[in-house]
């Protein structure tokens, strides 16, 4: 108790203490109380650049270098000339823009609501500055907010002591700002979000309000956005894509696996999907359009038209080269397909067998005994049955003449099962 009540300057201050704090001029006369504080992120990412002080009729702006000292007893200024408050687009106002709003915690990978903010008091040259240290959530900060202004700060500090703090370092906080212009002015970059695993980022996106979802997916890198979008629930996926700018949506869809892109486009409104297709570049566009021809509930609608295939006549060395070239495609696939002279499916070779075989062996020697495939018009349920019955990891899809069209992989089947 005595320690908490001592007058030694604190090395940290909460926003709940800063708001309403008295401000004194050079002569020690009170000129007003702090109403808000603002960062200017383009100048400094964490230093409080201005204090907005309300006294008498109007608000005034106090710049950080006009302050001499900051403590629980008040803020003492060292300059006389204060400017009246005027709105500034480069300002991130902590009470107005941050407090009680949702932000993304990149470390804990979830959406949180800001309850309080804590600052460290630091010396810069010969005056005190506040550095935004972390954002507080949890019961301890709720207590401070509820008691703010009702009890003196030192009492509140004493009361909250037994509760363990819960906070997020400012470095890991991501503000969600739907307006792209303002994102630039406030220097809000999505880099930290791009480092979150797409599956986690998808969970975060699902939790947000529609405008905020579009803000996130519209601002991050298209490749990350594609990976994230494919992990989002189908119901929400379609809504996000419909709301995005068609050009941006096309960019994201180009990065997705064609089967997923086609599934997604099948869900959105027809006009929107046409607009998006128009914006896509030729190759992914044709692939997606071909897939859209198949019914959503057929093997054709489920398959991915990208795979690695080679002629029956080839040797293992050629096959290994083909696999190397198709490096991008082979991610998540583990089978090489053999085609006859008329592009019809003639056999499958598990990739692992290529590793064990001598380079000169004909690939046809390595093919699996059974060739299990499915017609593009076959129903989804049948595909699932085949996967279960033969313990498959990948299933080739062919047209009526036996020509290879694409493959269905185990993760497609898992999605089908989860949706039903």
């Amino acid at each position: 108790m005595t320690a908490a009540l001592s007058v030694a300057p604190p090395d940290y201050i909460f926003l709940t203490e800063l708001i309403g704090m008295k401000v004194f001029d050079l002569k020690g006369q009170r000129i007003g109380r702090v109403r808000d504080a603002a960062l200017v992120p383009t100048v400094h990412p964490m230093r409080v650049d201005r204090f907005l002080v309300g006294g008498g009729w109007a608000w005034m702006t106090v710049r950080h270098d006009q302050v001499r000292s900051i403590g629980l007893n008040g803020i003492y200024l060292r300059a006389e000339q204060l400017t009246p408050y005027h709105d500034d687009e480069y300002m991130l106002r902590i009470v107005q823009d941050l407090l009680d709003q949702q932000i993304i915690d990149a470390q804990g990978r979830k959406v949180v609501r800001v309850t309080d903010v804590s600052f460290t008091v630091a010396r810069e040259d010969d005056h005190d500055v506040l550095l935004l240290h972390d954002v507080d959530i949890g019961i301890r900060s709720v207590l401070r907010r509820v008691l703010q202004g009702l009890l003196p700060p030192r009492c509140v500090r004493w009361l909250q002591a037994p509760i363990s703090p819960k906070s997020i370092p400012w470095d890991y906080c991501n503000i969600i700002e739907p307006d792209p212009q303002r994102r630039l002015r406030l220097n809000i970059t999505p880099h930290r979000l791009e480092n979150i695993h797409p599956a986690d980022l998808a969970d975060i996106v699902e939790e947000l309000a529609p405008d905020d979802r579009e803000a996130i997916l519209g601002s991050i890198d298209s490749e990350v956005a594609a990976e994230t979008l494919s992990e989002v629930e189908p119901r929400i996926q379609a809504k996000i894509v419909e709301a995005l700018d068609p050009e941006k949506a096309a960019e994201i869809l180009e990065e997705m696996a064609p089967d997923q892109a086609a599934d997604l486009l099948a869900e959105v409104k027809e006009e929107t999907s046409e607009e998006i297709l128009e914006e896509m570049s030729l190759e992914p566009k044709t692939e997606v359009e071909e897939l859209l021809e198949f019914g959503e509930h057929t093997a054709g609608g489920l398959m991915n038209p990208e795979y690695v295939a080679i002629s029956m006549e080839a040797r293992v060395a050629d096959a290994v080269d083909a696999v190397r070239e198709g490096e991008q495609l082979i991610e998540g696939q583990n089978t090489l397909f053999l085609l006859d002279s008329e592009q019809r499916l003639a056999g499958v070779v598990p990739l692992a067998r290529l590793l064990l075989a001598a380079p000169e062996t004909p690939v046809s020697d390595l093919r699996s005994a059974d060739l299990i495939h499915v017609d593009a018009k076959e129903k989804k349920a049948r595909v699932v049955e085949l996967f279960d019955k033969y313990n498959l990891l990948a299933l080739p899809v062919v047209d009526a003449s036996g020509k290879l069209l694409g493959i269905v992989t185990a993760d497609d089947v898992i999605s089908v099962l989860r949706q039903s």
């Binding site: 979830k110 949180v112 609501r113 309850t115 709720v142 907010r145 929400i236």
Partner: protein, 416 residues
């Protein structure tokens, strides 16, 4: 022609995609406390109070429509919006009042389960603990989608009230006339009852629950027109059920000998002379409504409070990840169910108390709602048009005046 069919199919599909929140909210509104109030209305005053149902329907539609619109447009819950726009302290006070109010509501639900099953000869010392455990498990172990389907099925069970109403063979002509003829008497008990009917029909928790359910369902501003139909239909269904409850009790009890009923089960007992089935339907309806309410109220409260105060919430998190959520949820169930088993705690007193807390809270919630829905920054082009605002403000003022009166009357009765 084919095109027309295709469009029709699309609209039907979209409608079914949005069905759920409005129906469920309106039906849970006829919970054990509601059934008690309507039974009392019919048993004591016969067909006279029926005319209030029409204005109740209007008030209900106006408030529910605003909530669902806010949910669809903002994608945020009501407690989230109050927090963002009015700050944490306001939210904290509203949430604290909501917890108290909903605690008494949960108590009323478990009391309904106890008395309904006692009519079947099952002791409350068995039914209440088993019911509480089942409710706890259903929600913690189930997922929202499957639970919502169960809830929609539960909405169908309310039909039993229509059956029992028909079986009692009330005086339909008198009922029809009373439904459209406002009749006021300067009897304090009558006026209290009318206000009580409004108070039990429009409760603060509904606004939070409905908006959250709309958000959870992911209904967007574009689909909202369908959702609005659902909300309105839900309100009408709720009022129709209330009509049949009043009519059954009016026909069975009031027409024989007007009296006060002790609780909803007592009203069911009063239907016995009109045949086993009328009695059975009424009791099953009561049981269903109570279980339904007991499932939804604690969960909705825990979600709303955690969202508003910024604590982790959700049944897909583990206990350790969302301790506050699970503790609040568990305490509401255990406390509400436990209080039913305490001897000497009177249900009528509890319902009066619940009406006081609900009544104190409702004006604040409604005023926050109207202020939020008129902020263009949040609602964009979906703010209330002026004409709608007039209706909304009039409704709010009527509700505030009525609930203030109810609070005064209930306080007087409680202290007596």
């Amino acid at each position: 022609m084919l095109n027309l069919l295709k469009r029709l199919r699309y609209h039907v599909l979209v409608f079914f995609a949005v069905v759920g929140p409005g129906f469920i909210t309106a039906n849970v509104d006829n919970d054990s406390g509601g059934i008690y109030t309507y039974s009392q209305a019919g048993a004591r005053w016969g067909y006279l109070p029926l005319w209030t149902l029409l204005p109740i329907a209007v008030l209900l539609v106006v408030t529910q429509e605003m909530c669902s619109r806010m949910g669809a447009v903002t994608g945020k819950g009501l407690s989230d919006l109050i927090r963002e726009e009015f700050g944490l302290r306001t939210t904290f006070v509203v949430m604290a009042a909501l917890v108290v109010a909903n605690f008494t509501n949960v108590f009323a639900e478990f009391a309904g389960i106890a008395s309904a099953l006692e009519l079947f000869g099952i002791s409350r010392y068995l039914s209440v603990p088993v019911g509480a455990a089942a409710v706890w498990l259903l929600v913690v172990k189930g997922n929202y989608r499957s639970v919502e389907k169960v809830f929609l099925l539960a909405c169908l069970v309310y039909v039993t009230y229509i059956f029992s109403g028909v079986l009692v063979e009330p005086d339909w002509k008198a009922a029809a006339i009373a439904s459209v003829t406002p009749s006021l008497m300067l009897d304090p008990a009558y006026i209290t009852l009318l206000i009580g009917m409004v108070g039990t029909s429009i409760a603060p928790w509904m606004q939070f629950y409905l908006q959250a359910a709309i958000v959870e369902k992911g209904i967007s501003a574009e689909e909202y027109s369908k959702s609005r139909i659902e909300v309105v239909v839900g309100c009408i269904v709720m009022v129709v059920i209330a009509f049949f409850i009043i009519v059954s009790c009016a026909g069975a009890i009031h027409s024989v000998a007007p009296r006060d009923v002790k609780d909803a089960a007592d009203a069911a007992e009063g239907l016995k002379p009109f045949g086993r089935w009328a009695y059975l339907f009424f009791t099953v309806g009561l049981l269903n409504a109570s279980v339904f309410g007991a499932c939804i109220l604690p969960l909705s409260t825990a979600y709303t409070v955690c969202e508003g105060l910024g604590f982790d919430s959700g049944v897909n998190l583990r206990f350790r990840e969302a301790p506050f959520f699970y503790w609040l949820y568990t305490l509401l169930i255990v406390g509400g169910a436990g209080a039913v088993l305490l001897p000497g705690l009177s249900l009528v007193k509890m319902i009066l108390f619940s009406q006081v807390v609900n009544g104190v809270l409702l004006p604040f919630v409604l005023i926050y709602m109207i202020r939020l829905i008129n902020r263009r920054r949040i609602m964009k082009e979906w703010v209330n048009p002026t004409s709608y605002n007039i209706i909304a403000w009039v409704s709010v003022v009527v509700l505030v005046v009525l609930t203030c009166a109810l609070v005064v009357i209930s306080l007087r009765d409680m202290l007596r």
